[in-house]
Amino acid sequence: MKLPRFSRKTLCIPYAVFLVFFVIIPMCVIIFYAFTDRDMHFSFSNFLQFFSDPTKLSTIVYSIVISLITTVICLVIAYPVALILARSKLKKKFVILMLFVLPMWINFVLRVNALRELFNLLSQAEALAWLESANIFKTIVGMVYDFLPFMILPLYTTMLKIDDSLYEASADLGGNAFTTFFRITLPLSMPGIMSGVTMVFLPSMTNYVVSDMLGNAKVTIIGKFISDYFGNDWHMGSMIALVLLIIVFASTLLSGGLNSDENVRGTNL
C-alpha cells in the first residue's frame, strides 16, 4: 500500500483555509457591499457620495493629520533612544530596550483606560484643568504611548546592523559628527525609519479605541467612522473601508518602493 505522501506543501493548508475564510471572502464581501445599494443592485452611488461629502473627506484628512503628528512625535522620541542604545557598549542594554517594549505586553485597553484615569486625576488640579477638554492632545498622547515601541524596535534593529567601522571610516576621512550623522547614520537607518513609520502611521489612522476613550468620543478618526456606519449602512461602511485600504496599500507601496531603491542593508519588520 502506498502511503499518502506528506509533502511540505501540505503544511500550508491551515493557512490557506485561514486566508480564504478570513481574508479573501471578507474582502469580496466588502467590495460587493461597497458597490451595491440597499436593494443589492450594482451602483457607484456610495463611491460618488463618499467623494462628494465634505464631512467624510475632512475626516480622512483629519485622521491623516493626527496620525502624522503621532508618527513624527514617535520618531523624534524613538530615534535618539534607539541610536544611543544601538551604539552603546552597555552589557545591560537589552534590559533598557525591554523597558521600552514591556508596555506592549500589557493589555492595550487596560493601558488606555489607565491613561484616561490618569488624565482625569490630573485635570482635577486647577493648573491642569485644561486637560479636561484637550481631546486631541490626549488622543495623541495616548497613541504615542501605545505605538512608541513599534517605532523603537525596527529603528534599533536596523541601527544595530550598521558596522561600527563605518562611523570610524567617516571620522577617519575627516567627517565631523554632523557629517557622519547626515551622510552615514541617517541614510543607513532609513529602512528602520520606513518600517517604524509604517508600523505607527497605519494603526494610528484606524485605532479608534484610543480616540474614543481619551478624546471623549469627540475626536472622530476614520476607523471610528467605519464602525459607526456599519451600525446602519453597511454599504457606505464598506466603501470607506475600501478607500482606507487603498490609502494604506498606496502608502506601503511608497515606503516599500523607497526601500528597494536605496541599496541599504537593514530589516523591514
Binding site: S165, L173, G174, G175, R265
Partner: protein, 504 residues
C-alpha cells in the same frame, strides 16, 4: 637622519583592567613602509588604532612630526586608514565612497582683492577638482571606469582597491593598513602585496601596516616591529629580524627555526646538542644561552664529516625544498634542503658559525612574591604550595605546634611573612588533574627547543596573572587548562629585605 613622522613615547593602554599595550616607544621614519607584526591579541591593531585616533592612550604620547596628537579626534589627523573589512559605505557607489573624504575637506585658498591685498578663504573643493582626484585615485588602484558601480557588485579584491583609493585620495601623511589583505585568497594576496609595495614607492607616503602573517611582513616592509603581549619584542629590517632574532619568541614567530638551550664554553664557542660549535656572537663563558639555527643553515654531510650525527626520521616535500627531520641523540633538528634523504638514513650535520645565533634566554628561573601561611605553606602565583620553611633560617626546625624554632631556640610565627620564591626551569611539572598541583592556569605558549618544550602557564585573572616557565618533554596544547606541580624541596625561599628587618 630621516625625519620621524610618528613617534610613540611610553604609550600604555588599558581596556578596563586589561593591559593591552605596555609602555611602548618607537618611531617611524618619513616615507617608510613599517609593519607591526605579531600574533592575534598582541596589541598591534590597538597601536594602529591609537595612531588613527580611534583609541586614546591611557598614558604616554603620540607625536606626529614632533607635535603631540594624542588627544586629537580622528577627523583632525592627517592620517587615513584602510580597514580590515574595508568599511566601505554600502549606500554610496564607488565614486561617492572615494569622494567622501574630499567633500569633508576644506582648503585654504589665497585671493587678491581690488586693492591688491591678499586674503585667504577656507573653501570646499569644487566638483571638478573632486572628480579629477577620484579619477586619479581609481587609476592608481587600476579601477578606471568603476565610478558608477555599487559597492555590493564588487568582488573582495575590488572592494579592497576601492578602500585603498578612498584612503589615498586624501593624500594623507600616513596611510594605516589594518590587515587589509586578510580576507583575500592566497593568490590575490600575493598580487596585492606587490601592488601595495609599488604603490608605496610611487606615492612616497608613510605606510603603517598591521599583519600577523610573517611572510607578508618580510616581503613588504622596510622595517618590522615585532610585538607580543603588548610589548615590542624587536624592531629592525626584515633581514635583521630574520637573521638576528632578539629572543626565542621572535625566532619562533618569524620563519622556521631550531631553538636549543646551550652554554658558552669559550670565546665564540658554544655547546649545544652535546657538541661544541664555533659561533660569531661573543658571550661570557659559562653563560646560559638560547640558540637559534635556521633550517636552511643546517648542512647535510656524510656521517664521518658531520659534527652531529643522526638518523632521518621524516622527509616532507614542500615544493621548493624538502623538510627533513633528523633525530640527533635526544634532539630533533629540522633541515630545509633541495636535496632529499631517505627515512632511516644515517647522516652527519654541520652548521657554519654564522648560522648559529646566540641569544640571552628570557627565562632562567621563575621568581614570585609569596606569603607564608598558617600551616607553613607558601602562597604565590594564585596558589598555595607546600614548602620547607626551615631554609629561611639555617639550622632551624619545626616544633609540634608548627612553630619555627631557630638555631638559637627562638620561636617564630611565620604566618604572613613575605618571601621571594624561586623555582627553576626544570623543577616544574604540570598535570591535567586540576587538584594535583598548587595552582591552575592555561598554557599560553609552547616553543620546541630540540629535545624539550619550553612551556609558559599563566595562572589567575588577567589583572593579577602570574606566569610559570618550565621545560617539559611532553607535548601539550596551547590553552590547555592544567595544574602546576612543584616538589616541596624545589621551592627556594628567601626573606625579602623588609621582612628580614622586621624579624631581626
Amino acid at each position: 637622519m630621516a625625519e620621524h613622522i610618528i613617534e610613540l613615547k611610553g604609550v600604555t593602554k588599558y581596556f578596563g583592567e586589561n593591559l593591552i599595550i605596555d609602555n611602548v616607544s618607537f618611531y617611524v621614519n618619513k616615507g617608510e613602509f613599517i609593519t607591526f607584526l605579531g600574533p592575534s591579541g598582541c596589541g598591534k591593531t590597538t597601536t594602529l588604532r591609537m595612531i588613527a585616533g580611534f583609541e586614546l592612550p591611557t598614558s604616554g604620547q603620540i607625536l606626529l612630526s614632533g607635535k603631540d596628537i594624542s588627544a586629537l579626534p580622528p577627523n583632525k589627523r592627517p592620517v587615513n586608514t584602510v580597514f580590515q573589512r574595508y568599511a566601505l559605505f554600502p549606500h554610496f557607489n564607488v565614486f561617492e565612497n572615494i569622494a567622501f573624504g574630499l567633500k569633508c575637506k576644506r582648503v585654504i585658498n589665497t585671493y587678491r582683492n581690488d586693492k591688491g591685498e591678499e586674503y585667504t578663504k577656507k573653501e570646499k573643493l569644487t566638483k571638478k577638482e573632486i572628480a579629477e582626484k577620484v579619477k586619479k585615485a581609481l587609476e592608481i588602484v587600476d579601477l578606471e571606469g568603476f565610478e558608477k558601480r555599487s559597492i555590493s557588485t564588487l568582488s573582495g579584491g575590488q572592494q579592497q582597491r576601492v578602500a585603498i583609493a578612498r584612503a589615498i585620495v586624501n593624500e594623507p601623511e600616513i596611510l594605516l593598513l589594518d590587515e587589509p589583505l586578510g580576507a583575500l585568497d592566497l593568490k590575490m594576496r600575493k598580487e596585492m602585496q606587490i601592488e601595495l609595495k609599488k604603490m608605496h614607492d610611487r606615492l612616497g607616503i608613510t605606510f603603517i601596516y598591521v599583519t600577523h602573517d610573517q611572510e607578508e611582513a618580510l616581503t613588504m616592509s622596510d622595517t618590522i616591529v615585532v610585538m607580543s603581549d603588548g610589548v615590542v619584542q624587536q624592531i629592525g629590517t626584515p633581514t635583521k629580524i630574520y637573521n638576528e632574532p632578539a629572543n626565542t619568541f621572535v625566532a619562533d614567530f618569524i620563519g622556521e627555526s631550531n631553538i636549543f638551550s646551550g652554554t658558552v664554553v669559550g670565546k665564540k664557542k658554544v655547546k649545544f646538542c652535546g657538541k661544541t660549535f664555533d659561533c660569531v656572537d661573543d658571550f661570557d663563558v659559562n653563560e646560559l644561552v638560547d640558540i637559534v639555527v635556521r633550517p636552511e643553515d643546517v648542512k647535510m654531510v656524510s656521517p664521518e664529516e658531520g659534527t652531529l650525527k643522526g638518523e632521518v626520521i621524516s622527509v616532507v616535500f614542500k615544493g621548493i625544498h624538502y623538510e627533513i627531520t633528523v633525530q640527533v641523540g635526544k634532539y630533533e633538528v629540522v633541515i630545509q634542503s633541495t636535496e632529499s634523504r631517505e627515512v632511516g638514513e644515517k647522516i652527519g650535520l654541520n652548521v657554519a658559525p654564522d648560522g648559529i645565533h646566540l641569544m640571552k634566554p628570557k627565562y632562567t628561573t621563575n621568581v614570585f612574591d609569596g606569603v607564608i601561611t598558617k600551616h607553613n605553606t607558601v602562597e604565590f602565583a594564585n596558589g598555595e604550595f607546600e614548602c620547607d620553611v626551615t631554609q629561611l633560617y639555617p639550622g632551624s626546625y619545626i616544633d609540634e605546634e608548627e612553630y619555627l624554632i631557630t638555631k638559637e631556640g627562638e620561636k617564630i610565627d611565620l604566618t604572613g611573612t613575605e618571601v621571594r620564591v624561586e623555582v627553576g626551569l626544570y623543577d616544574i611539572s604540570i598535570s591535567d588533574d586540576e587538584d594535583a598541583g598548587g595552582t591552575t592556569g592555561h598554557i599560553i605558549s609552547i616553543i620546541y627547543k630540540g629535545d624539550h618544550y619550553r612551556v609558559i602557564v599563566r595562572t589567575g585573572d588577567s589583572d593579577e596573572d602570574e606566569d610559570f616557565v618550565f621545560a617539559t618533554e611532553d607535548l601539550w596544547n596551547e590553552n590547555d587548562y592544567v595544574s602546576v606541580i612543584i616538589p616541596k624541596e624545589k621551592i627556594k625561599l628567601s626573606l625579602k629585605p623588609k621582612a628580614k628587618e622586621d624579624q631581626e
